[in-house]
């Protein structure tokens, strides 16, 4: 019955363990991680490091933002909003890129963890998009004079937020999880056209939003350093949350499989009777 065992003995009759080792070494890293049990083991060890790393780096970023960073020559202290706005906006797009890559992995390679990754990243990406919109709005009011304008950048990021909500709604609207995963992956890949539009909206069209705050030289070092530290902290936090979300999803699928197995066994134990009475 256990197919894995039979394959191992087939590799090397004399020393099955050595054969198993060799078989594992031949696997690529993604193949190794594809095994949910090994994923749970590795992610369980990695998660505390990520969590504490992100917490301490975000604490450092807060210190830099409030006690070290100078006010901007135009915007005064309001520039501090940038330290959360810009990392949130970066992560909003990065999370979507991750969902798109995972969707590709699901549709093309049928990678067992690809859908888990895509599903776990959606609410986190939506949260960072919301943060980018809200902090941007709170930045726009005192600086531009308006909470919201319908320029190309703001509108395309709002569309990204709705796209995240759409992905989650589409998935939850279907009973059949495998079908839901595939259709959601297709929508995610269609939506990927939004990423370059958001990125280049400030260059292609004139907008009220200023051109992108890249890692270019347009930000003075004294303001860039807190921004970068904050971005690293936010990214680690994102990966910690994504890993946690993936772990939760793996557990949820195990629970579901066990419940199914329990029902099947109860029916089997009925000895051919039409239906086993519920407990």
């Amino acid at each position: 019955m256990p197919a894995a065992g039979r394959r191992v003995t087939g590799v090397s009759c004399a020393d099955p363990l050595q054969g198993l080792n060799r078989a594992m070494q031949n696997q690529s890293l993604t193949q190794k991680l594809a095994n949910p049990t090994r994923f749970m083991d590795l992610s369980g060890r990695l998660l505390p490091w990520l969590a504490w790393g992100s917490t301490s780096i975000i604490a450092a970023a807060l210190y830099l933002a409030f006690f070290v960073a100078p006010p901007d020559y135009q915007q005064g202290h309001t520039v501090k909003i940038m330290f959360i706005h810009v990392p949130s906006a970066w992560l909003a797009m990065m999370a979507y890129a991750l969902i798109a890559a995972s969707s590709f992995g699901l549709l093309v390679f049928r990678h067992p963890l690809a859908d888990v990754s895509a599903k776990a990243a959606a609410p986190i990406g939506a949260a960072f998009t919301l943060l980018a919109l809200v902090t941007g709005s709170l930045w726009g009011k005192p600086m531009w004079g308006a909470y919201w304008v319908w320029d190309a950048r703001l509108t395309s990021v709002l569309m990204l937020f709705f796209l995240y909500l759409g992905l989650m709604a589409l998935r939850s609207s279907m009973e059949d999880e495998a079908l839901a995963a595939k259709l959601t992956a297709v929508l995610a890949l269609v939506g990927v056209v939004l990423l370059p539009i958001i990125k280049f909206s400030v260059d292609w069209w004139n907008t009220l939003h200023q051109p992108s705050t890249g890692l270019t030289s347009t930000v003075h070092t004294s303001i860039r350093t807190p921004l970068l530290v904050s971005a690293v902290g936010f990214s680690l936090l994102f990966f910690a949350m994504h890993l946690k979300g993936m772990r939760n999803e793996v557990l949820r699928r195990r629970v579901k499989a066990l419940r199914l197995a329990e029902v099947e066994r109860a029916q089997g134990a009925g000895g051919g009777r039409v239906a086993a009475p519920a407990e």
């Binding site: 409030f66 006010p71 959360i84 919301l130 949350m241």
Partner: protein, 54 residues
């Protein structure tokens, strides 16, 4: 600390970010506990995955 005339917007941004992230982390932790408990209950009842139990 003097944050200038727009202190209210700065503070609101940071508090908003803290609230959104705290809600997300809280949901992740609670969801993880719920799944772990459900799994424990099932295993305590003797339900095994095929790959483990044969």
């Amino acid at each position: 600390m003097d944050l200038g005339p727009h202190a209210v917007f700065i503070v609101a941004s940071y508090l908003g970010a803290a609230a959104v992230l705290a809600a997300l982390i809280g949901w992740l932790v609670l969801d993880g506990r719920r799944q772990a408990r459900a799994l424990e209950e099932l295993e305590a009842r003797g339900v095994r995955r095929r790959s483990r139990g044969g």
